[in-house]
């Protein structure tokens, strides 16, 4: 099914002829390219706190984004409804970047047959509301029964059904239906005056069937409880430059911040990135091969087609330490004279697409994780993170550990309090001296922000050792 195709197009009587008129209005002769992005999004969320599911919410957001592009200039407008007259008027607004020219004749192509990486279904229709509520209550009960130090449990379940249609003046006509679900749990433990939290969660492009009543939720509950228990014992960590071993999976947020954003095409076309003009140069140790792969079935960061109708790909960003390529959308690839890479993404119809990441990870190396830790005399081992940020121009990036330990003489010691790590993108991966053989992708909770637009993404990596990076503890 596709909601746009099955409901919107027919209800609003939007024939190919009318859609061609809209595109044509957005694309007079002196405009290179125009596209229409139809979107219907139905999302919901349920949250349990203080032992009860006290509220749930359901949201519908829909509309059509219209873009007119001439060289590096973009005009953009959108309509919150699907009436033909409103689409025409939005199209007339979007071409404002150029002085009026003759409308071009546009032909819409036949519907593009797309490779599907997930089922074209709405996760919201899989399970009764009551079952969702009962599931959250059950997780809460499970956690409270396992540990009498539990002071608070917050569990949430969210689902999104995103139905889109992309039409452009190159003749593309492509539909996509994108399910996305996410489960998360946060536990606060209290001992005396001390209170610490642990959180975990996961999800992907499937339905609630994969979560509700499955082991999945209870495993995340155990994981949140384990982290909170560890943090209760955490002591103040040291500040300064030191050797850091990062665990597999979610710590791959390192790659997202240190190199991912810096390799987005728009920044490199404008030469505002610390990675501008470094293609073919060594930007990481030769053990590092990093890809951005939007093609992994059912993953949170995956898309069958990007938001400009291009099939996503597995793009090699860095191969054995050498910078191979940037992530591109249509405009930037054209201006830089390279092929699009399937990374044109937008938060919604009301925002312009930009080059964005999908699932970004490092391929496995040859070391056993145990021998990586044993090689460290004095350092830290960080296994969980709460997010990061980067200044793509000077390359400075941070990521914040939420679970970490000291390493002394090759052995993992006591847990230390959460802390921020700061480094320089083009330099830090040159200091990666050991890459583990244990590649793991994250559990499916990542959201990336750029220019105020949020999109779901994934990260991953094997265990790896950075010889030196600055760590923000409180002790000197």
């Amino acid at each position: 099914m596709n909601f746009i195709k099955d409901h919107i197009i027919s209800s609003y009587d939007l024939s190919d002829g009318k859609l061609e008129n809209v595109l044509s209005a957005a694309c007079p002769t002196n405009i290179d390219f125009a596209d229409l992005y139809f979107q219907y999004t139905n999302s919901e969320s349920w949250q349990l706190e203080d032992g009860i599911v006290k509220n749930g919410s359901s949201n519908i957001d829909s509309g059509v984004g219209i873009r007119s592009v001439s060289g590096d200039k973009t005009g953009f407008s959108y309509s919150n409804n699907f009436q033909y007259e409103n689409l025409l008027s939005a199209a007339n607004t979007s071409k404002c970047i150029v002085n009026s020219g003759q409308d071009k004749e546009i032909k819409i192509g036949t519907e593009k047959d797309i490779r599907r990486l997930y089922e074209p279904i709405s996760p919201l229709n899989y399970k009764e509301d009551n079952a969702k509520v009962e599931f959250l209550k059950d997780i809460d009960k499970y956690i409270r029964s396992k540990d009498n130090r539990v002071d608070q449990v917050i569990v949430s379940l969210a689902g999104v059904y995103d139905s889109i249609l992309i039409l452009n003046t190159d003749g593309i006509k492509a539909f996509d239906d994108r399910p996305l679900v996410r489960f998360s749990v946060m536990v606060i433990l209290k001992v005396g005056d001390r209170r610490e939290r642990g959180s975990a969660g996961g999800g992907g492009r499937y339905t609630y069937e994969e979560i509700i009543g499955k082991k999945f939720g209870y495993e995340f509950a155990d994981e949140a409880l384990r982290q909170a228990t560890v943090n209760l014992e955490a002591v103040d960590g040291k500040a300064g430059a030191m050797t850091v071993v990062l665990g597999p999976g979610w710590p791959g947020v390192l790659l997202h911040e240190a190199i991912g954003h810096g390799l987005e095409g728009d920044f490199n076309r404008k030469k505002t990135s610390a990675f501008s003009d470094l293609i073919g140069k060594q930007v990481a140790s030769n053990q590092c091969t990093i890809v951005d792969d939007g093609t992994i079935s059912k993953r949170r960061g995956s898309l069958s087609i990007d938001d400009e109708g291009c099939e996503t790909k597995c793009n090699t960003l860095i191969e054995n330490g050498i910078l191979k390529g940037y992530m591109q959308d249509k405009i930037n690839s054209k201006l830089m004279n390279v092929d699009p890479t399937g990374n044109g993404r937008r938060e919604s119809y009301a925002c312009l697409p930009m080059p964005r990441m999908t699932n970004t990870f490092m391929l496995p190396g040859e070391y056993n994780p145990k021998e990586i830790i044993e090689s460290v005399q004095d350092g830290i081992y960080a296994v969980n993170f709460s997010g990061g940020q980067v200044d793509i121009t000077n390359g400075q990036f941070v990521f914040t550990a939420s679970e970490a330990y000291t390493i002394k003489k090759g052995k993992i010691q006591e847990p230390i309090k959460g802390m921020t790590l700061i480094g320089n993108g083009p330099e830090v991966l040159k200091k990666v001296s050991m890459v583990g053989n244990d590649l793991k992708l994250d559990d499916g909770v990542g959201t990336c922000g750029k220019d105020g637009q949020s999109v779901p993404v994934g990260v991953g990596q094997p265990t790896l050792k950075i010889d030196e990076i600055t760590v923000g503890g409180t002790q000197v």
Binding site: K73, S77, K132, N394, T420, T470, G473, T474
Partner: protein
């Protein structure tokens, strides 16, 4: 703006009619927002983007027997509104009863308030706006030859209307405008690039800082960053710029928000009437500041916003409570379904904090999410300047700033008089002793 008034009363009538037909066993609350506007970005003296926006959203919450459900839609047709209400009702039936749930008591809501002085509609010629952004960017380039690149200058405008209506008789609407002009400049030295920005943001177009000033300020700021060095790890006094102080105060405010308190996920639970800041620090909320970026007459539930002391002589006077949190904590609602303007002040503001520092750091940028709201533990990446004997020595990069928020507040030495009026949180710079700086 006559059309706008008409459309609001149309929507009000439409919603009122819908309410009258609805199941009266439920209570209803509608929150509606409409926003029209555009943004223009120019780069290298050419238009890069022109984006028009026209947003509308309706949120509906329903209550019955202490059960709640919510739904929203951006399609304001009668049919879609009905569907949203039904959806909210279905959700409420499946949620669990909680006797703190429900509409605000009617003594807290009203239909009358003073004019807020935040609505300055103006018809602008897009050509002039394009020129404004071009001028802004050129003044950054002209200010210093080392400014070699830019992410352009942007202007944004929006004209907003908000409306609340509930089945207890609360009704309110207000209009506001937002204008902003910004510039992001890049500079390069020894093949190392830096970027920095400046912006002006107001309710009134005519109150915007001049394009020349904004461009030049962005240029000055990025030039100051050139030649940054790393430094050794140390513990020292840190002067936080007004923007960074605002970020520290924002961590404080989220920790005293009612929902953080009743969820017990704050390092400031059980702290009412306790000393959090030194004696000379006061923090007030003022919802009706003329031109204020967060000025509004009522909160998200239609409860009148209130001017109040949050910190008085260093002591915490109140949590920030909406109706639900107030009932949950057996306290009075403080109109904080939203947070309005915050004024941070000192009984002894100082004019030359930097010049009076003998040794320490001036922090102008921080990165990352390292403020732990449960424990107050604080660890973030930072950029700043090394200070010796009241003078900037050189810019400092790749450092971390770490402490615990409670200790940081306790260790505040002084507040500057350099108050930044652009943001919701109006504060000057803040000098705090004993911060751990992680470096090489």
């Amino acid at each position: 703006m006559k059309n706008k008034d008409n459309s609001i009363s149309d929507y009000k009538n439409k919603l009122q009619k819908i309410i009258n037909k609805l199941d009266s066993k439920f209570d209803y609350e509608f929150n509606m927002s409409l926003s029209d506007g555009y943004s223009v970005t120019s780069r290298f003296s050419e238009v890069e983007n022109i984006e028009y926006h026209q947003d509308m959203a309706l949120n509906v919450s329903v209550y019955k027997d202490y059960q709640k459900g919510s739904a929203s839609t951006n399609d304001l047709s009668e049919k879609s509104i009905q569907q949203a209400i039904e959806k909210a009702q279905n959700i409420s039936i499946n949620t669990q009863a909680d006797d703190c749930q429900g509409l605000p008591e009617s003594q807290y809501t009203t239909q009358k308030w003073e004019d807020m002085d935040i609505y300055y509609p103006k018809t602008l010629d897009i050509k002039n706006i394009i020129d404004l952004t071009k001028d802004c960017e050129s003044s950054a380039f002209q200010k210093d030859k080392r400014v070699t690149n830019s992410e352009g200058s942007s202007f944004t405008f929006s004209d907003n209307t908000h409306m609340i209506l509930n089945s207890n008789g609360a009704y309110g609407t207000f209009d506001s405008t937002d204008y902003s002009l910004s510039c992001i400049a890049l500079a390069e030295q020894n093949k190392l690039m830096e970027r920095d920005y400046w912006y002006s943001s107001t309710r009134d177009y005519d109150a915007l800082e001049s394009s020349k000033h904004i461009g030049e300020k962005a240029a000055e700021r990025v030039i100051a960053r050139l030649g940054a060095k790393t430094i050794k790890t140390r513990v020292c006094p840190v002067l936080f710029s007004p923007e960074m102080t605002s970020s520290l105060i924002s961590s404080f405010l989220s920790a005293i928000n009612g929902s953080s308190i009743y969820k017990k996920s704050s390092f400031l639970i059980d702290k009412i009437d306790k000393k959090i800041f030194p004696d000379f620090v006061n923090i007030q909320e003022d919802p009706s500041l003329s031109n204020g970026s967060a000025t509004r007459p009522y909160d998200s539930e239609g409860v009148l916003t209130q001017k109040k002391d949050i910190i008085k002589d260093g002591i915490l006077k109140t949590y920030l409570l909406d109706t639900y949190a107030a009932r949950k904590l057996k306290s009075k609602c403080t109109g904080n379904g939203v947070l309005t303007n915050i004024l941070v002040s000192s009984k002894k503001p100082e004019a030359n904090l930097l010049q009076n520092m003998t040794d320490g750091l001036y922090i102008t940028d921080m990165m990352g999410s390292g403020a732990n709201s449960l424990t107050g533990d604080y660890s973030r990446g930072a950029f700043g300047y090394l200070i010796k004997n009241g003078e900037i020595q050189y810019p400092v990069t790749e450092i971390t700033v770490a402490s615990n928020l409670l200790q940081m507040f306790e260790n505040i030495v002084s507040l500057g008089d350099d108050v930044d009026n652009r943001n919701r949180i109006r504060t000057g710079s803040m000098l705090i002793d004993n911060i751990t700086i992680g470096g090489t």
